[in-house]
Symmetry: C2
Subunit: 335 residues, 2 copies
């Protein structure tokens, strides 16, 4: 863009964000006022509660410098949609706060494509936000709906409930290592490496399953900081402890090929960035769960159960084992 | 804090943000689920529309390195409340995305005090958000309500409508110059300098007036980027132009003393960071406006009118004049 006239904030919003939003707005009667005024005005369906999540991605912390702009647009929205999925909520609208060091049209094109593509998939509309100059970071706010009293909390699990996780946790963490160039001499194929990378770059929030779990799951959390840590958060919020059977972890073939079964297990337990759902159900609801999983075409595996003893216990073939594991604590690991 | 155990994200949220939120939550039946789960769940009063604004403050761009933490907490919320004020909306809840280079408890204490104090003044509740490590920036999302069809838009003004501004614009811009140490040998007193500084550091969003303007104002915008530029945005959105009488600008005694009347005028027109309201009313509603201003104890001045010729025209004693002025375009000025 050398020599080009600097693109002002308002042109920038128009070019990359306003048009698709208005195109969607035209078919969405619930958006009274989208981008372009001081605030957005929308109509929540009568009798529904509002669900709101706000998450930020910061360069160097949640994504690498030079990361794919399309992935960044996708992930900024996906991590928030995942929060709504974990509540059993239906996303409706979102707002975007984008901080950029400079106007870079190639970046904006990729970023907005990643964002709009995922938004289109879930039929949600960009209704407002803010662009500003500064170190690269993205905050997205997603707003959605849930029927009163139906939101899936972290705190509803009871002793004896079964613990499930969707998909194949650990893949995204392996993908991040590949993105960082930290993995050499791998046994896994180029196709497998691409698959792992994609799992990090383009996570798929489990919106459909989250909604299907309403009335079935007793508690739910999205796996962003590592399965073991997030499962423990769910258990603790529910006043329980949790036993995880590490021989029941659903490990993908790509992850097993990546650096062997021990690393696969470690990444599945503590890797983070999965954006899968971890949820508890009373044993009597297993059949209802199986039906739901088939309906929404989502795989989930029973990996443990809620117990009376507080804390996290890892079991292998039914016997306690010790493994190093940790959650992803943004500040504890930042120093 | 040398030698202290690093404070994890969750402790940090607990210590500075969760407790006051829960304390408020206890007396707010509309918050079903506040901080601590994947997303917040709230209940909008029946028949009300939802209003949402999201604004980011970035260090070096919207505030100076080393700025008062209390001011930053206040301003991050105030700029968003000001957006809701400009819609005639009533704020209810907010979310906070705070990015910090490191855990700094003195900063967090001041920041959370600034935030909670302003939130308390407007009876709004912190319901969620995100803290992360990275270059200092703050995104706040405010959610509020408005009766259907009652939101004040930028686009409702008509030719012949009168244009008003609240308060004394320009003070904040002078205050920012003082904060930056850019102003020496001033005629204004220490008390006046403090007053100007406070106007920058602790702007008062015009929530009560915004609500009172519903049914009176034909259009409204909040003055964040400079009065002249924001008045022009309102006029343009309404398909009009605007005439501003620069001899009718409400200039504070402190601003006039700061660097004399010419600079005062320039700062009032183009300074920014005022967070006053600029609004249009049909001339027939002047009496109703005067009543409202008395009711909410807010001063506003008639500074011009909406006209057919597009663009902005500045008048002095009824005659056109040329002044340098500009809006605050985040990227055009960033290079």
């Amino acid at each position: 863009m050398a020599g080009a006239k600097p693109l002002g904030e308002f042109d920038l919003i128009d070019r990359y964000f306003r048009v698709p939003a208005l195109a969607s707005t035209a078919v969405r009667a619930d958006v009274t006022l989208g981008i372009g005024d001081d605030a957005a005005v929308v109509t929540l369906p009568p009798g529904q509660q509002l669900v709101a999540a706000l998450d930020t991605l910061v360069e160097g912390r949640h994504f690498l410098a030079g990361t794919s702009a399309q992935s960044l647009g996708h992930r900024a929205l996906a991590v928030n949609l995942s929060d709504l999925a974990a509540m059993g909520a239906t996303p409706l609208w979102y707002l975007l706060a984008l901080t950029l060091p400079r106007v870079d049209e190639a970046f904006l094109l990729g970023f907005s494509q990643g964002l709009h593509q995922l938004a289109g998939l879930h039929d949600i509309v960009l209704i407002g936000g803010d662009t500003t100059a500064g170190p690269l970071s993205v905050s997205v706010q997603v707003l959605g709906k849930v029927s009163p009293g139906q939101a899936l909390l972290r705190s509803g699990a009871r002793i004896g409930d079964l613990l499930y996780v969707t998909g194949t946790p650990g893949d995204a963490a392996a993908g991040l290592q590949l993105e960082r160039g930290l993995a050499a001499d791998l046994a896994c194929s180029a196709a497998q490496q691409l698959e792992l990378r994609q799992r990090f770059l383009f996570p798929a929030p489990r919106i459909a399953l989250g909604r299907a779990l309403v009335g079935i799951a007793s508690a739910c959390i999205d796996v962003s900081d590592g399965l073991a840590g997030d499962a423990l958060k769910l258990a603790t919020a529910s006043g329980c402890g949790v036993q995880l059977h590490i021989d029941k972890l659903p490990l993908s073939a790509s992850l097993l090929a990546f650096k062997g079964p021990l690393v696969a297990r470690e990444l599945a337990l503590a890797g983070g960035d999965d954006y899968e759902l971890c949820f508890a159900i009373p044993p009597a609801r297993q059949a209802a769960l199986e039906d739901s999983l088939i309906n929404v075409k989502c795989a989930a595996s029973c990996i443990g159960s809620l117990v009376g003893d507080p804390g996290l216990q890892l079991l292998e073939r039914g016997k306690p084992v010790q493994l190093q594991h940790s959650g992803f604590d943004h500040f504890a690991t930042a120093g």
